[in-house]
Symmetry: C2
């Protein structure tokens, strides 16, 4: 079992235990976060779905990230990650009710820099009704390595938040806004 | 390199050579198709994005699959796969123009049957302006095996279509409607 798979199992179990639903917004990870979660038997009880907004305009059209934010800062920015996580709660909602939790990834997998951000710069975000968390990574790796690190980071941030351990020191280091 | 990775590289190259854009709609594969494609450097020149409509209602809300179709046949049906592929062309469009090609997966990864369909039953679809192709698989495998087979099948169907080899015998066997 890979670390990602173990994390995904823990995330699904933690969500199910708390009766929470999840929506996933991805850019550089391109579906890998959602795929890890779907790999867990019983995922359908908590995972509603996901949006891979790979082309920048889709971050606005599918996830309601403000176009002004994308124009000003580009797609690799903490506020964009947070807006994606907020937007996917709404996008994956059913019966007029959004997903309880939204998570998001945006960053530069390489081989080339993007929007002024270097290869390896990643932001992951978790948003629910009580918290908005975002964390920056700078991953010294190649394209697959950056993507894998982003998958694990967003699952870890979610798991820590669900476990109630995202306060204090960690909250400060990840730019939590609870 | 896995067979899926080699297929993804061929698909990205074939799309780029033809100047075509792609949108991906996934159910049981849960982002794995999109993730394989994003793994290819340069994918951003052709891949616009994807929608993982894992919960059945999202197939209507995000991909415009008719609710009547889902009520009548459930989510694991060739017409649902085709409707998802059509819907994702529109959903991933930018600047008022849909994606040139849409592909889709729906099926039962298990461990339990769904909507009257057995574990391993999968439909994959490819839709563009000139063709609508759908193919049924029955995969005698476990959850990871069924999902991997679905990823490879939809990439193969797309690659064959782009290569112009989906006519004749194969078109008949996959239920092509060109």
């Amino acid at each position: 079992m890979t670390p990602s798979t173990a994390l995904a199992e823990s995330v699904i179990a933690a969500l199910e235990q708390r009766g929470l639903t999840l929506g996933v917004a991805e850019s550089l990870t391109g579906g890998a976060v959602t795929s890890e979660l779907v790999g867990v038997p019983g995922a359908s009880r908590v995972l509603l779905g996901g949006v891979v907004a790979y082309a920048t305009p889709l971050k606005s059209s599918l996830l309601h990230v403000p176009e002004s934010l994308l124009r000003e800062h580009g797609a690799v920015h903490p506020e964009v990650a947070l807006a994606m996580a907020r937007g996917v709660r709404e996008a994956t909602g059913t019966a007029g009710r959004g997903a309880d939790v939204g998570i998001a990834t945006t960053g530069v997998a390489g081989p080339d820099p993007q929007d002024g951000a270097p290869v390896g710069r990643v932001f992951v975000a978790v948003v629910d009704a009580r918290a908005e968390l975002v964390r920056q990574l700078d991953v010294p790796s190649d394209r697959p390595g950056v993507r894998r690190a982003a998958v694990d980071a967003v699952l870890e941030l979610l798991l820590n938040h669900l476990s109630g351990s995202s306060g204090g020191q960690e909250a400060a280091s990840v730019g939590a806004r609870e």
